[in-house]
């Protein structure tokens, strides 16, 4: 720490950063626009001007841009002196010259950084009296609205979208005071991270199009800290509700997980909560028909089914909380508890868990960003774990940035660093069945099925650790590539191995572990990151239930006659025939919030709360347990699943903490999950944390059509949050932050007030806890894995492809069931398809888009043929689309016949 003087007062600041960061970290007010904590400084807007003095004697000083000025010992500045105050007021005046006076109809109003900065600089009188420039807007697709007249040309949008997120379908057009931020032609933004424009833009140019459908001001939204439920990375979110419907999701900063951003699935997938089709009433099957019943009657009916069962099977869910899964486990007994993850994925998740336990340690996304070399084995991270894509895009800049360090260029000087390193990138290998979006930044790409990737991984490991065996069947080009990759990894300061469940290959996950450990022998900073399919896949695996195959068997053999299914659609897990034959004559209690085939088949349906109406803990792919909190109380019959299950089991847990306490004693490994967030009895200054802002309006009128009496806020026995505007509205512990707001800072930029320092952790302690410490638990190192042949078809030496090996292809819009209920997102999903190499398509006589029927084991799928030039011969990919009949992958199939229906 060093000392700097601001308006003659001494402060401690961190050396090496810039002055704007330092001033904001000190909690002082200084307006800015073009700077963004994740993107560094460019000095374009000139808003952050301060007066810099040479020394104590200097009374004149000169104006500098704080964001472009390195912090040095003894630095003297003033924020208050006339000179810089005047200049800052002029900058706002210029920015506002063309800005429309449309705050009342602007979606950004009330959470607008420009509004805040205008007030902060006290600009209140318009002197510019000439015509404003105007622009035509573009249709940028279903996620982001475009209203360019509000633009103040801070360049943050292009800097995020193009420079940071690496997308190339957006740019600055034009010149002088008609610079235009948009696209060459109207059309949907292609980046998976486009929604961040909404938060990155300091004014109302880019706004959330889905929010527009049911618009509510920020201060009228009831919000709570939450965790994204749409993939396994566990990004932190702030969902907002009004009148019982969810209105939007914003990023909730987490210094280790998602930083400032979210992917578009995470931001726009929320609408399943509001779907009218969603099960909302308790139901009981009478005379073959599901009919509405009271919650009590349904509960009694379920209790009766469970109580009279001659064997129970409880199917847990990778998208339900640890608590709900545990409650089910308690209800049915550990030996009757099965995983609701598709069996082939379940095998992978368990293997991933094992590898994570062996180590080396798994990095947080923030740590991924700081890795200087990476190999991605078998994964299409953009589609399977989207924010990992964004992190890897930062990581490839780390190695070339070393040059900037040598030339003593501050790394937060975004322009100079980019100009220096141009498009040089650090080593990145993408080894995957088909082309992925990250290929464009990869140094090497390798196309192969899982077995080939395993061979490459093991060959690379062998280059690093001569004690390992050379993998069987290693061909010359792969061996050469392995050598090159190994050399780059060995040279790196913090190398990373990424793999996961995306390929459906257990061997591949093992091989990734082997490689990571070989690397760790050379460099102890080596890290292993493994992806998992769902938001609580890892938590479910840690609960240790059996595989779903065994559930089917127990049902089919009659060992169980009653199934309790938690937030899962069994038809998604196994082929239709297998599910139906197993369920024939069996009794089914279903808890869910998604409509689906299992719900229709239920004998008793208990409507479950979504993440927005429930509390619980999710364990992400790094083994980090994080708590999500109810955003609004469940309506009607809806209850949190663990509460239904607790009642069914006669547990009568008074609150979530009681479930967690029981979980801790039953499964000590999971006990630390209790500490993911403060418990229900936590108070600050005797208060709970308010979910409603202190400006929440209409409290007394909101139910005036029903009663003129103001209703009592609903109780919340489970959390330290309250459904009210009465409560603590300062800075709570990180896990309890329901929104970012601070006096004078109404936009998301208030965040700097919640951070210990810019880009640092939130104040008030950590949010979430890591449950996995490598080496702590079972599992032995697997030193070698056999790579069985990928090419199902070719006989040795003969170019004859009789069979196809099918591996999964994931889609950010399409693969995840909950988000597919959001119209904005569903509209961007592909139609069901089988991707084939051009040669295989030609051999089978198939044209692009032709309808085909593919025969999988026990399941035939009606698909479209897609020709993927990047696919190696003999390999095919099946688009993983929610709701399509389940098949077990990888699978070997016959090429679909020509001219099939």
């Amino acid at each position: 720490m060093i000392t700097i003087y601001v308006d003659n007062q001494a402060y401690q600041a961190k050396a090496g950063g810039n002055l704007l960061e330092a001033v904001l970290s000190l909690g002082l007010n200084l307006p800015y626009f073009c700077w963004h904590p994740a993107m560094g400084s460019v000095g374009a807007c000139r808003q952050c001007a301060v007066t810099l003095y040479k020394d104590e004697q200097d009374t004149q000083g000169k104006i500098v841009m704080a964001c472009m000025t390195p912090v040095k010992e003894g630095l003297r500045i003033s924020l208050q002196d006339r000179q810089s105050r005047d200049f800052r007021a002029r900058v706002i005046e210029w920015l506002m010259a063309n800005h429309p006076h449309d705050c009342p109809v602007c979606d950004e109003g009330g959470e607008c950084h420009l509004q805040d900065m205008t007030v902060m600089t006290a600009h209140d009188y318009r002197r510019y009296r000439f015509a404003k420039r105007t622009f035509a807007n573009q249709d940028l697709g279903p996620f982001v609205n475009h209203e360019l007249n509000r633009c103040i040309a801070c360049y943050r949008c292009v800097r995020f979208y193009n420079d940071y997120a690496g997308a190339r379908d957006f740019s600055v057009l034009g010149c002088h005071n008609t610079v235009y931020f948009g696209r060459s032609q109207s059309g949907p933004l292609e980046s998976e991270f486009s929604g961040n424009l909404v938060e990155v833009c300091p004014t109302g140019v880019f706004t959330d199009k889905t929010l527009k459908e049911h618009y509510t001001r920020k201060w009228d939204l009831q919000t709570a800290p939450s965790i994204c439920v749409h993939c396994g990375l566990g990004c932190n979110t702030i969902p907002g509700e009004r009148y019982g419907t969810l209105r939007r999701v914003q990023a909730r900063y987490h210094s280790q997980v998602n930083g400032y951003f979210l992917c578009d699935r995470g931001r726009y997938g929320y609408e399943f909560v509001n779907r009218p089709e969603r099960p909302r009433t308790a139901m009981i099957r009478r005379d073959g028909q599901l009919a509405a019943a009271s919650a009590e009657a349904a509960l009694a009916a379920a209790r009766e089914l469970v109580g009279s069962a001659r064997g129970l099977a409880g199917v847990g869910s990778p998208r339900a909380s640890l608590e709900s899964n545990f409650a089910l486990r308690q209800l049915v007994g550990a030996e009757n508890f099965y995983s609701g993850q598709a069996p082939w994925l379940d095998d992978c998740v368990r293997e991933a868990l094992r590898q994570l336990q062996i180590g080396p340690a798994t990095p947080s996304l923030r740590q991924v960003e700081q890795c200087d070399a990476a190999v991605v084995l078998g994964e299409d991270v953009t589609n399977f774990a989207p924010m990992l894509d964004l992190a890897i895009r930062q990581a490839v800049r780390v190695e070339p940035m070393e040059l900037a360090r040598q030339l003593k260029i501050d790394l937060w000087l975004d322009g100079p660093v980019r100009e220096l390193i141009q498009d040089r990138r650090g080593p990145l290998l993408i080894a995957s069945p088909a082309a992925t979006k990250l290929d464009e930044i990869a140094r090497w790409t390798y196309r192969s099925g899982p077995a080939g990737v395993v061979r490459l991984a093991l060959a690379t490991a062998r280059e690093l650790d001569a004690s390992l065996p050379v993998p069987d069947g290693l061909d010359e080009p792969t061996a050469r590539l392995a050598k090159e990759v190994a050399a780059a990894l060995a040279k790196a300061k913090s190398p990373l191995v990424v793999s996961g469940c995306g390929c459906g290959s257990v061997e591949l996950i093992q091989a990734a572990g082997v490689l990571a450990r070989a690397l760790a022998k050379v460099n102890s900073a080596a890290r292993l990151s493994l992806t998992v399919p769902d938001c609580n896949s890892l938590g479910l695996a840690m609960l240790g239930g059996k595989n779903f195959r065994q559930a089917l068997e127990a049902l089919r053999l009659g060992r169980a006659d009653t199934a309790v299914v938690l937030e899962s659609d069994l038809w998604d897990l196994a082929p239709t025939d297998a599910v139906e034959s197993a369920l024939a004559g069996k009794r089914l209690v279903v808890l869910d919030h998604l409509p689906g085939r299992t719900v229709q088949r239920a004998d008793v349906l208990l409507p479950a709360g979504t993440f927005a109406e429930a509390d619980g803990t999710l364990v992400n792919n790094e083994g980090r347990a994080q708590r999500f909190f109810q955003v609004f109380p469940p309506q009607g019959d809806i209850r949190q699943s663990w509460r239904w299950l607790g009642d069914l089991a006669g547990r009568n847990w008074p609150n979530l903490d009681a479930v967690l306490a029981e979980l801790s004693s039953a499964l000590p490994d999971l006990a630390p999950a209790t500490g993911a967030a403060p418990q229900a009895n936590f108070r600050i200054e005797g208060l709970k944390v308010a979910r409603q802002s202190h400006r929440y309006s209409g409290r007394t009128a909101i139910t005036a059509d029903v009663t003129v009496h103001e209703p009592k806020p609903p109780d919340d026995p489970d959390t330290p949050l309250t459904f009210s505007m009465e409560g603590f509205d300062g800075i709570p512990p990180a896990a309890l932050v329901p929104r970012f707001w601070s006096p004078g800072w109404n936009s998301q930029s208030a965040l700097t007030r919640f951070q210990q320092e810019v880009n640092g952790p939130l104040r008030g302690g950590p949010a979430g806890v890591r449950l996995i410490n490598p080496g702590s638990s079972g599992g032995t190192a697997v030193s070698a894995v056999s790579g069985e042949s990928d090419q199902a078809g070719p006989q040795a030496g003969r170019l004859c492809y009789q069979k196809l090996l099918v591996v999964p292809a994931w889609h950010i819009y399409g693969s995840e069931a909950q988000s597919m209920q959001s119209p904005a997102l569903a509209g961007r999903a592909p139609r069901p398809y089988l991707g084939l190499s051009p040669a295989d398509a030609a051999q089978a006589g198939l044209q692009a888009d032709q309808r085909i029927t593919a025969q999988f084991d026990g399941q035939s799928l009606s698909l479209e043929a897609r020709i993927l030039p990047s696919l190696p011969r003999g390999l095919a990919v099946l688009g993983m689309l929610a709701g399509q009949p389940a098949v077990q992958l990888p699978a070997i199939i016959d090429p679909p016949p020509k001219g099939a229906p």
Binding site: A44, A49, I63, V64, R90, W94, F130, V172, H176, N177
Partner: protein, 424 residues
């Protein structure tokens, strides 16, 4: 008097070809340097000569070069960029050199590239200079044939590629770091310094950017020595200078004269004011220099001389304000240019200049209001050096500062009389 820049120039004849240029003593400096001087020697000679950049800012050329990393450890390739984007309103000096003695520029480029051990040079030429392009191409072709550019130049082991790059408009391309972005095929927004281009320039490599006239001075310095060059000048800044005059004078034009000639001498060279026109003022060195008045004819035109009158020599090509031209109108014309040519990157320039332009137009059209001069003053103060991202906007304010200082009454009259006295 020696005229190293224009000795070969004969407008009626046109440029010398390679043979003619060599006959006139051309490429002797290059032969000398490659034969007997190290790159450091060339740098030293240029430093000793006190050559200051002719692009407008007057930065000492030898000093600029001295920041380039040298020797086998230095990053490669290194680049030399010739700033031939001449677009400063009122400037028309580089065109004269390129059209009429292209080999002089090439010799200067090769020598300077040698001095900084650059492997590649780009001549960044504005698109409208069609004739310059043609003649430079011609000269480049000849030089290539003769082994003066390319591999192993004159057998001395030095390699240099020279490329002519023609631009596509935009004044900001002349700003040296904007030029780099433009050469990279990007929008010509200026770059932040430091790092300076000598450390991280074109494609992140060490780069020198020099003006055409600057580089044309180098062959003379190498051929005749630093001392000779110093003596060409009447002041501390070495060499001769191309001075120009445009406006209502008898013989507008551009001439080589000793550095440090006075405004009066230069005006004399232009044959004085046209009949019926009286000198009221002038902007001494292109659009981004402060107005002077008829009281300043004794002022010395070099890099320091105009400082005491609050102005700058800039490009050394002056534009005359006569008594039948409105200074407010002239300022409006200048601001229209600068507002249009703003790259749009930083707020003060992008949004401030159009406001200044609109205010001046309001004055011109009788829409001026009481506070307008204060608003103009405000802009002259708040668009100063360091407040904007690059020097375009501060440069734009210079003529306005001078005009408000020397001709404030004219501005006031526009408001009082609700319009332009010269326009009715």
């Amino acid at each position: 008097m020696d005229k190293p820049l224009t000795k070969n120039i004969d407008l009626a004849r046109g440029p010398l070809d390679l043979a003619g240029y060599e006959r006139a003593g051309g490429y002797q400096a290059l032969r000398k340097a490659l034969g007997s001087m190290s790159p450091q020697d060339v740098q030293q000679a240029v430093s000793d000569s006190n050559l200051r950049g002719r692009g407008g800012a007057g930065f000492p050329t030898g000093k600029k070069w001295s920041f380039v990393p040298m020797g086998p450890q230095a990053p490669r390739p290194k680049y030399l960029c010739v700033n031939a984007d001449e677009m400063e309103p009122g400037a028309f000096k580089d065109r004269l050199l390129m059209e009429n003695d292209p080999h002089l520029l090439l010799e200067g480029v090769i020598l300077s590239a040698y001095a900084i051990e650059a492997q590649v040079a780009y001549i960044f030429l504005r698109k409208e200079y069609v004739l310059s392009a043609r003649r430079l191409e011609q000269a480049l072709g000849e030089a290539g044939q003769a082994g003066l550019v390319g591999k192993n130049i004159l057998g001395g082991g030095f390699d240099l590629e020279i490329h002519l790059h023609t631009s596509a408009g935009r004044y900001i391309c002349g700003e040296e770091t904007g030029l780099l972005n433009s050469l990279e095929g990007k929008r010509a927004n200026p770059r932040f310094k430091p790092p300076h281009p000598q450390v991280s320039g074109l494609w992140g490599k060490p780069t020198i950017i020099n003006n055409v006239e600057t580089l044309c001075c180098v062959p003379g310095i190498i051929a005749n020595g630093a001392e000779w060059f110093g003596k060409l000048s009447r002041t501390a800044d070495g060499g001769t200078k191309l001075y120009g005059v445009s406006g209502r004078v008898n013989r507008p034009g551009c001439w080589e004269m000793p550095m440090g000639s006075t405004i009066g001498e230069i005006l004399d060279r232009a044959g004085g004011m046209k009949q019926g026109y009286r000198l009221r003022g002038l902007i001494p060195g292109g659009a981004s220099t402060e107005f002077l008045t008829d009281q300043h004819t004794d002022a010395v035109m070099d890099f320091e001389g105009l400082g005491k009158y609050g102005s700058r020599m800039g490009t050394g090509t002056m534009v005359i304000l006569d008594d039948r031209t409105c200074v407010v109108g002239m300022c409006h014309n200048l601001m229209k240019f600068f507002a249009r040519e703003s790259c749009g990157w930083c707020t003060p320039c992008r949004d401030g200049l159009p406001w200044v332009r609109d205010l001046l137009w309001a004055l011109e059209t009788g829409q001026g209001q009481a506070g307008d001069l204060d608003l103009l003053e405000m802009h002259t103060q708040q668009l100063g050096p360091g407040l904007t991202y690059c020097a375009l906007a501060p440069g734009a304010m210079e003529p306005l500062i001078g005009a408000l200082r020397h001709f404030r009454g004219d501005f006031q009259r526009h408001i009082d009389q609700k319009g332009c006295p010269w326009r009715r």
